[in-house]
């Protein structure tokens, strides 16, 4: 029935959204690492 599908679908949607959000955070951290690396390089 539709309710079951809705419920199940919501859980999947929520979990994947969360993973996507974590992924964005990882990307941001990577960018900041790059930024730091640039700052460190000239003085090396």
């Amino acid at each position: 029935m539709t309710y079951v599908a809705l419920a199940y679908g919501f859980i999947w949607g929520a979990v994947f959204t969360y993973i996507a959000l974590i992924g964005r955070r990882v990307a941001r951290i990577d960018a900041e690492i790059e930024d730091l690396r640039q700052r460190v390089k000239p003085s090396a």
């Binding site: 309710y3 079951v4 419920a7 690492i33 460190v40 003085s43």
Partner: protein, 234 residues
Amino acid sequence: MSSRMSSSLKSSTAFVVGLLLTMHGFFVVTFLVANAPLEKTMGIVQKIFYFHVPCAWLLMLSTFVCAGGSLAYLFRGSERGDRLALCSAELGVLFGLCVMVTGPLWARAAWGVFWTWDVRLTSSLLLWLMLIAYGLARRYGGEGGRRLAAAMALFAAADVPLVYLSVNVWRTLHPTTKVVSSLAPGMRLPFFLSLAIFSALWGVLLTLRMRVERAHARLVELTIAVEDAEGRSP
């Protein structure tokens, strides 16, 4: 130094693989669940139970893990404990959201109302609210925010068993705690399998989130160190 961090982030992709495997398990569960016997009175809607109850269980688990991490942070100054508390609180909010959506859907389909003020659903709501408040305390609590949130987690965990006890006092629409042991045999396997896979999913998400948080913490340290160095040598 920076390469160590990015490699630790790259190994998180290994966890994504683990995640996918867990997801695959979902399909198995779906198959088994679909074949499980239909419950007498509620029919097909009862199948929501296979997802709803594990989510509620994970909400409780997250709360206790959060309290455990908070304990380590408050009494032993463990930064890792604090990270654990933060990550598990996030997961608790996530799975709590799932409970709060699947619960009313089930209630609506089975009993015609979106919300029943029975203690089971209500106590899940309370727990969920406490974890959200935990997040608020961390974010906006100022200097002592993390400690305040940690204390909150302790109170929340202490609350859990007490509220759970009052289930047996109220007559309620919600199945009482005895429902799991009185499951028809054909339903037991899919239920426990679903519970196991959901728990595995929780574990994977937690580990992943913890790594990201640890990477973030090291990044902050490094940034401070770099800025110090830059400030010292003009």
